[in-house]
Symmetry: C2
Subunit: 126 residues, 2 copies
DNA sequence: CCCATTGCCTTGCGGCACAAGATAGTCGGC
DNA sequence: GCCGACTATCTTGTGCCGCAAGGCAATGGG
């Protein structure tokens, strides 16, 4: 066979990530300063399948360039290359707030459409 | 100007759509046969901002090619070009089921990460 | 006959997750 | 001392897809 293997479910997660990955990072960074490797682990621990570091580092760079986060370097206590910690800026904090609202609104609408046909009455928005 | 206007919120919705737009269409079609124009309206009515038809038609074509939906033409009762109705195939129905599960799992994880840190000591800005 | 409306489809663009690989710093074994 | 292993960051090329804008087709009314 040529190359079919749609792997539908796998690809959907990738597409879903596009909308919330930046927000997740922002949210995790809000908790406390974090570095790239740690973020990948935290995402996996949070229930999202492992996100490749090739997605995380460019995204962090973009967000820093956008002024949403700032970074500083610190040596690795376990030995190894120095870590680059990120923390939220004011703008990043504001953006995170907006993003959370966006996500809630969107997830609500989408979820409603996706489950609307199984039942029709009685739903509430939180 | 080369590039400007981040329009953050606007773009986020676009990225979010990637993960669920196909599922939404599938879900709406499951309810009853629908045609392109109608789907755009249904999405808007469902709470999602208007999705451009330039996104919907190619997606429908892709899904038909993938065997998830099938189509038939019928004249427009209100006068105008004939409509192209889509209905779910077996595969489409199965895919919709998988997709719903994927969405629920993903939305759960993402939502958890996004709201995990909100409650701690002192959140006062608002 | 002409034109507005309804409805479908195509092209060019831009953004992003991903795989794979390169780079750098530190440590332990030999 | 040198080499391999581990930690951690960054870069390039690829493919996917929503979107804006524009074009085509069919119908019915002025």
């Amino acid at each position: 066979m040529t190359k079919e293997a749609p792997a539908t479910g796998d690809q959907r997660r990738t597409q879903l990530l596009r909308g919330v990955l930046d927000l997740c990072l922002l949210s995790l960074i809000e908790e406390r300063p974090r570095y790239g490797f740690e973020l990948a682990e935290a995402l996996a621990a949070g229930g999202l399948e492992p996100v490749s570091d090739g997605s995380i580092y460019p995204l962090l760079a973009r967000m820093e360039r956008a002024g949403l986060i700032s970074s500083y370097r610190a040596p690795s206590p376990t030995g190894g290359a120095p870590r680059k910690y990120y923390r939220l800026t004011d703008a990043g904090c504001a953006e995170l707030g907006r993003g959370r609202a966006d996500w809630l609104a969107f997830a609500g609408s989408a979820g409603r459409i996706l489950t609307a046909t199984t039942q029709s009455t009685g739903e509430h928005s939180t």
